[in-house]
């Protein structure tokens, strides 16, 4: 104030006192507005920073992963010599040998043993299984020449997708010059092409990237979520109903409430420790199974479901309850036939969000042995299984470039699930939100 008075006094001595005050105010106002603008800018910058981070994260995952939905196939003319097929049990014939013969027939110039091995490595080891399935499906093909599109090895796949550069020195490449020539021959004969990668969606885990798929993990996740849902939905809703509608105000109720928040605060890895110490080592439940995983995740999702359900119950206005009491309903009737149906959409929203959290959780499942390498597709709750996030973790650790691509693709699939679950929750909330 002192400073501004001096300044104003020196600037204009002849004007009246009232105008001077206005001058001061206006001058300061300009500064204050500038400050205001800067302030808004900081807020905007922080939001823009988080949006940019999200955009960067999503685009890098998509740009790394979209190519995994295509897979390179090579066309082979396989001569199915009846002598090479086992008469009794066609499934046990040496299909690997037949495939090798077919490859050799296309490249008659390759004679050297070492070179042949390099040649065979261009084709996936899954080619033999493909041929076997073909023969078992249609035994009539035996004795004819079958033109079959077989899976290419992941290195070939990476080359076709441009992740292995052709122009770098030979020793820095995973494919040598000769192998490139052989591939060039395939390309010239139009025998190599990229197709939609069905293996990725139908197969279980594998050490070979071109044979690895997410179906096993998807099914594992499905069973685990089923266990989680079956346990946490009734327990969560019953607990919420009790706390909102029945609980007397006393120390025991306070204790329960505090502990629900404490449960929400437990670090996820500790749930894994619990699962290991109690369910596996104490109760001796089977390791790596959706059953144990589901129970552990149930404990994690409970607080989310309870808190959301309580909010939904709170939103039901007292007038509904009073009206029901007014016509002579008992407390239980009021809750079961009036309050619960009105609060159900909110409870379901909370459950969906809790399930989405559980679906993305990894750490506790590592502790109960769900990291094991499991090729078979799980068929039930007590079969060893992997879940989606754990599968992603396992692949992220693999050195092959082709696994980077598949990891990103698996993340995309998982994110699609999670985002659609969250979107469903948002839509439900909007749709069933009632104003009383």
């Amino acid at each position: 104030m002192n400073k501004s008075n001096k300044q104003a006094g020196a600037g204009s001595s002849g004007t009246s006192r009232r105008e001077r005050t206005i001058d001061i105010v206006n001058k300061r106002l300009e500064k204050r507005y500038r400050k205001e603008k800067r302030f808004r800018l900081y807020g905007m910058l922080s939001i823009i920073a988080s949006v940019l981070f999200l955009a960067f994260l999503l685009t890098s995952i998509v740009s790394n992963g979209y190519s995994a939905f295509w897979q390179t196939y090579i066309k082979l003319d396989v001569q199915l010599d009846p002598d090479m097929i086992d008469k009794e049990d066609p499934g046990r014939s040496n299909y690997q040998g037949i495939i090798k013969q077919a490859i050799g027939a296309y490249y008659p110039e390759v004679k050297d043993r070492k070179e042949r091995r390099e040649l065979y490595s261009l084709f996936s080891s899954g080619a033999a299984f493909q041929l076997r399935d073909e023969v078992l499906k249609n035994p009539a093909v035996v004795g004819t020449t079958l033109s079959l599109w077989v899976l290419a090895d992941d290195d070939v796949d990476m080359l076709m997708k441009g992740h292995i550069k052709r122009n770098v020195p030979e020793n820095e490449r995973r494919l040598n010059d000769k192998q490139l020539q052989w591939i060039a021959k395939l390309e010239a004969g139009k025998r190599i092409e990229e197709r939609f990668n069905t293996t990725f969606f139908t197969a279980g885990d594998s050490r070979e990237p071109e044979l690895a798929g997410i179906w096993g993990a998807v099914k594992g996740s499905f069973y685990t979520m089923l266990v989680t849902l079956a346990l946490s939905f009734p327990i969560g809703i019953a607990a919420a109903v009790y706390l909102e509608e029945f609980a007397p105000k006393n120390l025991a109720t306070d204790f329960i409430e505090v502990n629900i928040n404490n449960l929400a605060a437990v670090p996820s890895i500790v749930f894994g420790l619990l699962g290991l110490a109690v369910f596996l080592n104490f109760f001796g439940m089977p390791r790596s199974t959706p059953l144990v995983g589901g129970i552990v995740l149930m404990l994690m999702t409970l607080p989310t479901i309870i808190i959301a359900s309580r909010a939904a119950l709170k939103a039901v206005p007292p007038s509904i309850r009073e009206a029901a009491f007014g016509v002579g309903s008992s407390k239980l009737q009021v809750v079961t036939s009036h309050v619960l149906p009105l609060a159900l959409p909110g409870m379901l929203t909370g459950t969906i969000i809790g399930m989405a959290q559980a679906l993305g959780e990894t750490a506790p499942l590592l502790m109960i042995g769900m990291v094991a390498f499991i090729v078979d597709i799980p068929g039930g709750f007590t079969d060893p299984a992997a879940v989606m996030p754990v599968q992603i973790y396992l692949w992220a650790d693999s050195p092959e470039r082709a696994f980077v691509e598949r990891t990103s693709a698996a993340i995309m699939v998982l994110l699609a699930f999670l985002i659609s679950m969250n979107a469903l929750a948002v839509v439900m909330r909007k749709r069933f939100e009632r104003r009383w």
């Binding site: 400073k3 204050r32 507005y33 808004r40 609980a247 404490n262 929400a264 990894t362 042995g369 992220a396």
Partner: protein, 387 residues
């Protein structure tokens, strides 16, 4: 005739509460409520259960090895015979990433919350909020993959330039602001009209040049830094800060909203601008809720496993010098996740129990944090309710 329609299909006493009906209702109420009580207390029991079972497996470790080694030694060789179980470096690593992520997430989260609650118009807010909430929907393993496969190589190859740009973006505006404020302060003492303006401009200019030199100097020093490994504390802190962001934003925003219109309108009525209202009225009123948000965000960072396990480098030593965020570290959660695979084969050994000791440490810490933040929120609610 009306009688007939009313009673059709129902027993005559459908609307009469007979004593027998009342008894049935009482029994149903008793069992229903009892069942609900059992289920609700199940949740509370689970927490005690977790505490009990983790502690039961943690205590043998402390009985065998005592407390001193665990908390003061930095040599972590659990697989040796006999093993060494010094967890100081691991606890330090956990603290380091937690503080690092809080340093990034807290200013970012609070300013984003203010922006969402008070600055942005509803039309923009509608879209900005779900985007920030989406950060919470992304699974931690996806963040881990991002940190390991995309961000770590980036940091390793272009670490210097990235640090320099970050320095310019973060420190640049702050230094500019400081120059303006300092120049104002220096020149505010003297009187004089037109000279004062020139003096002010020259002081601002000189200070500005000095500040630019300083910015350049530090920027170049950062640019010259070679990051040996991209899997380090900085990488993890950055990713964790974005994971903690949604928690901090949503809890602080709730607390800002809880301040209510009266205080804001009172401040506007006195002629304050929006920035002044927020900084001098709303923020102090919401400060305890924001503190709770910060604590919850920190808990999220300390309990996170996958990102640190995948991208922190997992070497259990205290970085040299102690504030070196470009060194790789190891945290409590990552140690539990990483070592349990082998330790589980030797159930009952110190190697197995030490991991439970770490779990107990995490558990105790998160309970304390949670209780503190809850106390704070309850107190704020009471104060705002005018008690």
């Amino acid at each position: 005739m009306p009688n007939a329609t009313l009673d059709s299909g129902k027993k005559p006493d459908a609307f009469v509460l007979t004593p027998e009906k009342l008894r049935r209702q009482r029994i149903a109420k008793f069992f229903g409520e009892g069942f609900l009580l059992v289920v609700a207390s199940f949740v509370a029991i689970v927490v005690l259960f977790i505490f009990y079972f983790v502690a039961v497996d943690a205590i043998p470790f402390f009985q065998q090895r005592g407390f001193t080694e665990f908390f003061t030694s930095t040599s972590w060789y659990p697989a040796d015979e006999p093993g060494e179980f010094g967890a100081l470096a691991i606890i330090y690593g956990s603290g380091m990433v937690t503080i690092g992520s809080a340093l990034i997430a807290v200013p970012l989260g609070i300013s984003a919350a203010i922006c969402l609650s008070d600055v942005l118009p509803f039309s923009v807010r509608q879209y900005a909020k779900p985007v920030i909430e989406m950060l919470a929907a992304i699974p931690s393993v996806a963040y881990g993959f991002f940190a390991l496969v995309i961000f770590a190589p980036l940091l390793q190859n272009y670490g210097g330039p990235i640090l320099m740009w970050a320095w310019w973006l973060i420190a640049g505006p702050f230094v500019l602001l400081a120059v303006i404020v300092v120049a104002d302060l220096i020149t505010s003492g003297d009187g004089g009209g037109s000279e004062r303006k020139t003096i002010r401009w020259t002081v601002t200019g000189v200070l500005g040049i000095l500040a630019l030199v300083f910015l350049f100097w530090v920027g170049n020093a950062l640019n010259a830094i070679q990051i040996l490994s991209g899997t380090n504390a900085l990488n993890v802190s950055l990713i964790l800060s974005f994971m903690a962001l949604p928690t901090i934003v949503s809890v602080s925003e709730d607390s800002l909203q809880a301040v209510g219109r009266e205080l804001r309108e009172g401040s506007y009525a006195l002629g304050a601008t929006r920035a002044e209202t927020i900084v001098k009225t709303v923020l102090p009123a919401a400060s305890s809720g924001i503190l709770a948000a910060v604590i919850l965000g920190i808990m999220r960072a300390i309990g996170e496993t996958m990102v640190v396990w995948m991208a922190s480098g997992n070497s259990s030593h205290i970085p040299d010098p102690w504030y070196n965020y470009l060194d790789s570290i190891r945290t409590l959660t990552a140690t539990i996740a990483g070592d349990m695979g082998e330790a589980d084969q030797v159930t009952g050994s110190a190697r197995y129990h030490v991991l439970f000791a770490m779990g107990l440490l995490l558990l105790v810490f998160s309970f304390i944090c949670n209780l503190v933040s809850e106390r704070i929120v309850v107190r704020q609610r009471k104060i705002l309710a005018g008690e």
